[in-house]
């Protein structure tokens, strides 16, 4: 504490002590006049002299603090254990200061000024960094959650408009003539448009979309911005910056940020930050684009392998259901097809089979078999011949992957359906009679594709109206589970269920078998499951609804 003696010269030594202190110190009396000051204060506040009014030489915030302190009538010195007076803060010149008051016994107050400019700047920078980090982490988790390009563009535009600009445009590179552009105003929802424009007409945009030559963010003169770049009702554009969206080695697009005139322009640090955001958005959009390209390839290849949807053909009802062994797959080693006769009045050919193996590899083999059978359709009335030719086609010295299948030729005759059935090493088809009896078809043969020959015996039978023939794969009967676990679904249970299905439409029988087998396995593992039901419709009326042949009422 500075002694009152300082005023009288006795304290000159002490005064000289703080006189050379690195912090500016000034003492003002109750009348608001400067009493003392040190060298540092002289440098900071030029023109300061003892006797000058405090308010004339210090900024208003400090003079007000001095007045407030005097008005409060503070007695000198904080009593032991009590906090000293809190400092006040303010700016002097271009720097920020904390002013710590020390009331003295004679009623004067010594003000110690501490320069905390750098501290404040660091704090502000830290706050800004934290905010940006939080934003980038939010952006990353939102962007990474989707593999859909459209949604990634929406999210990018929306986040950019919320945090970086008054409006944002996300533009994707395209091979087509029209440029996909998602626009979002701050507080608005993203809107997709396709613009028939040449990106090279906008400086920096063509390069950003090509990813070559590499460009940093590019400022463009707002007055040269094309009309499509400025969202409707945006007002006058103050500044525009175009930032490339770098992808995984390929350009993912461009981000255009717009600010209104009158608002703050983009600072260099904001532009750097926008680039960090662009890197994340670009990576997400690039991943989404790659995913889309891959899925569209898969989709095309898969289309051939997916089971067809069945319907009524020439007065015979067909329904089929398929469930691959793994939930994430859509194809597997089971397959079925129904080929309508080339000539009306002849039999349609149904094939249901099961190749050995699982997953995509098995599915590819089913594709080969389905194609071969399709090519052999002219021989469809001779099941044995088809099977023998298929056997030859599949035989290969390198492996013994085989298929078991059932061929069925079905033709309507009056209200009944005539069936010829041939099993090539496959589970026997079941016939659901109108009486509720479930019969096994009398056909048996060998598997196809692994042994030199594949003989099989064909059987012929007739379905009366409401009767059905059920073809299925072993995924159904070998399903393990049941209410108490560990039991096989089995043929007996399947037959019992089918005996309760008399008179049900074919699709309901398929659904019921699939449902009960699915409930049987519960969450357990299972093989591919396929069911096809061929039915003689209950009434003589033709179905009006099959989506393919023109029904009576469908215009």
């Amino acid at each position: 504490m500075v002694s009152t003696q300082a005023q009288t010269g006795v304290g000159a030594q002490q005064a000289s002590l703080w006189g050379v202190a690195p912090y500016p110190v000034l003492v003002a009396d109750e009348q608001g006049r400067v009493v003392l000051h040190n060298d540092a204060a002289d440098v900071l506040l030029p023109g300061i002299r003892p006797g000058t009014p405090f308010a004339d030489v210090v900024p208003a915030w400090l003079s007000a603090a001095h007045d407030a302190l005097r008005a409060a009538g503070r007695t000198p010195g904080p009593p032991a254990g009590q906090e000293p007076d809190a400092p006040v803060t303010g700016v002097i010149g271009e720097r920020a200061f904390e002013a710590h008051p020390t009331p003295r016994d004679d009623g004067t107050v010594a003000w110690w000024l501490v320069d905390d400019t750098d501290h404040l700047l660091a704090q502000r920078a830290l706050r800004m960094e934290r905010k940006r980090t939080a934003f980038l982490s939010e952006a990353s988790s939102t962007l990474l959650s989707s593999l859909n390009l459209g949604r990634c563009m929406d999210v990018t535009a929306q986040l950019a408009a919320e945090h970086l600009a008054d409006a944002a445009l996300v533009i994707a590179p395209t091979h087509g003539r029209r440029l996909p552009v998602v626009t979002c105003l701050r507080g608005g929802t993203p809107v997709l448009a396709h613009e028939s424009v040449d990106p090279d007409e906008v400086p920096g945009l063509g390069e950003a979309l090509r990813g070559f030559p590499p460009v940093p963010s590019r400022w463009i003169d707002p007055s040269t911005a094309p009309v499509w770049m400025v969202p409707e009702g945006f007002g006058t554009v103050g500044s525009i910056v175009i930032t490339p969206l770098p992808g995984h080695g390929v350009p993912a697009g461009a981000l255009v940020l717009l600010r209104r005139s009158g608002g703050a322009a983009f600072t260099e640090s904001e532009e750097v930050f926008a680039r960090l955001f662009a890197a994340r958005a670009g990576a997400a959009m690039s991943a989404a684009r790659l995913y889309a390209e891959q899925t569209s390839i898969t989709e095309v290849l898969m289309r051939e392998l997916l089971p067809p949807s069945l319907h009524q053909i020439s007065g015979v009802d067909y329904a089929g259901g398929y469930r691959p062994s793994a939930d994430h797959e859509r194809v597997g080693g089971d397959f079925y097809d129904v080929h309508p006769a080339a000539v009306e009045g002849e039999a349609s050919l149904v094939a249901l089979g099961d190749v050995c193996g699982k997953g995509l590899e098995a599915a590819v083999l089913t594709g080969k078999i389905r194609n071969t059978l399709h090519a052999l359709l002219p021989l469809a009335d001779d099941h044995q011949r088809m099977i023998s030719l298929l056997n030859t086609a599949l035989l290969n010295s390198h492996h013994t992957r085989f298929v078991t299948l059932v061929l069925a030729s079905a033709v309507r005759e009056g209200n009944a359906v005539n069936l010829r059935l041939t099993s090539a090493g496959h589970l026997t088809p079941l016939i659901v009679r109108a009486s509720g009896a479930v019969e096994e078809a009398e056909t048996r043969g060998t598997l196809v594709g692994a042994m030199p020959e594949a003989p099989a015996r064909t059987t012929a039978l007739t379905l009366a109206p409401g009767e059905s023939c059920v073809l299925y794969t072993d995924g159904i009967t070998e399903a393990e589970g049941g209410p108490m676990g560990g039991a096989q679904f089995g043929e007996e249970r399947l037959k019992r269920i089918l005996s309760e299905c008399v008179g049900m439409p074919s699709e309901s029988i398929v659904e019921r078998v699939q449902m009960l087998a699915a409930q049987w396995v519960g969450k357990g593992r299972h093989d591919d499951m396929a069911v096809v039901v061929i039915s003689a419709p209950r009434t003589h009326h033709l179905s009006a609804v099959n989506g393919h042949t023109r029904g009576r009422f469908t215009a």
Binding site: D327, G486, P505, S543
Partner: protein, 381 residues
């Protein structure tokens, strides 16, 4: 425990739920009532030809296609459920009726009066995995199409990986998920969370979510709709909120931390086995059961355990009590005394005595059962 009822409980539950659902969204009027009667007459005898004629005839006369879907077809489907519950339709008849209703919907969708061009965004409509009852979702898909949405209808029992792959592939604005069976709710919850995780909001519907949609709220679905009409109205109102990206299943259901659900689900088969064995002493009538009857008993037990697990998952005693009461009614309707239910719950309670939440739920079920035990089929509407 009944072993003579011809039903399988899951299908049964489905049907009952349809009743609740269709009644909620029905708009009356003499014309549609007349149509519903005509359609019922056709559907109940599996006459597809007449059924399709009724539906297409209505369109020809200018009846609004949406009204035909919701006030005629959905209403008739509701009646199918009622009639099955009252044992006036067999399983085969019920399935046939449902299939013909579905064919009627298909016929309607091809009619020029129902032809629309999409003017709105893309919506994915799907049933939760394990949900085989597709008609409510199908009706919603048709209604949304009529109202100008571009609809991707994925059908019954869609595994979550397929649903998510579809959402990545398409720019769906929202997913509408349907579930009628309460026991599918844990699966539905996983699907809801997965859709939200890829940034797509989820609208849910179907009786599984409770008549007031309470489970939709519990499982943090973005929107719940009691019926197709309300769902379509809500979607027309404006954009759905974007889901929180960080939604975790456990946040919705902190009580799962006690592991009761996990343990009971994981060991459900051995639990059913234990109860099955103990029940043979507690319920002597079982000794006279045939093999098929015994298997049905085991299936019914498994279904009770399934509902118990669901009640544990949701932390909701009412769900289990409601199921037990309803089971008793179904048995009674078939002239089967529900006297096997109390001993079953008691045996189950003994097996699960170390599971406090399960014990409470079972006690609640037993309490609610007592008055119903003596009621008869006539007491129900």
């Amino acid at each position: 425990m009944s072993t003579r009822t011809p039903h399988r409980p899951p299908a049964a539950e489905t049907v009952r739920d349809t009743v609740t659902e269709s009644v909620g969204g029905t708009v009356g009027g003499p014309v549609v009532e007349q149509l519903a009667d005509e359609l019922w007459d056709a559907v109940s005898v599996a006459d597809e030809y007449t059924a399709v004629e009724v539906v297409l005839g209505a369109l020809e006369r200018g009846v609004d296609p949406e009204s035909v879907l919701l006030d005629v077809i959905a209403r008739v489907q509701g009646k199918v459920g009622e009639e099955w519950a009252a044992d006036r339709l067999s399983v085969a008849q019920e399935h046939a009726a449902t299939a013909i209703n579905e064919r009627a919907v298909a016929a309607l969708s091809l009619h020029p009066a129902a032809r629309t061009t999409p003017t709105r965004g893309r919506i994915t409509v799907a049933c939760v995995d394990g949900e085989w009852h597709a008609l409510p979702a199908r009706l919603l898909a048709e209604v949304l199409t009529l109202r100008g949405w571009q609809v991707d209808y994925l059908g019954a029992q869609v595994p979550a990986p397929h649903l998510i792959a579809h959402l990545h592939r398409t720019d769906s604005y929202a997913v509408a998920l349907s579930s009628s069976i309460a026991t599918r709710l844990p699966t539905a919850h996983a699907a809801i969370t997965a859709c939200q995780a890829v940034g797509v909001p989820v609208l849910v519907g179907g009786a599984a979510f409770g008549p007031d949609g309470r489970y939709a709220t519990l499982l943090d679905a973005d929107v719940w709709a009691p019926d197709a009409r309300t769902a379509a109205d809500r979607l027309a109102l404006g954009p759905l909120p974007r889901p929180r990206p960080d939604h975790q299943q456990l946040d919705d259901l902190p009580h799962l931390a006690d592991q009761e659900y996990t343990l009971i689900t994981r060991n459900s088969a051995s639990l059913v086995r234990a109860v099955f064995t103990a029940l043979q002493d507690a319920f002597p009538a079982m000794r006279t059961y045939s093999e098929v009857q015994l298997e049905r008993t085991a299936e019914d037990l498994a279904h009770i355990v399934d509902f118990l697990a669901t009640a544990l998952y949701l932390g909701d005693e009412d769900l289990f009590a409601g199921f037990i009461t309803w089971t008793a009614q179904i048995l009674t309707a078939r002239g089967v005394p529900a006297s096997s239910l109390p001993p079953t719950l008691a045996v189950l309670g003994r097996e699960l005595k170390d599971f406090p939440r399960a014990t409470r739920i079972l006690e609640r079920g037993a309490e609610d059962l007592t008055p119903v035990d003596h009621s008869t089929a006539e007491s129900r509407s």
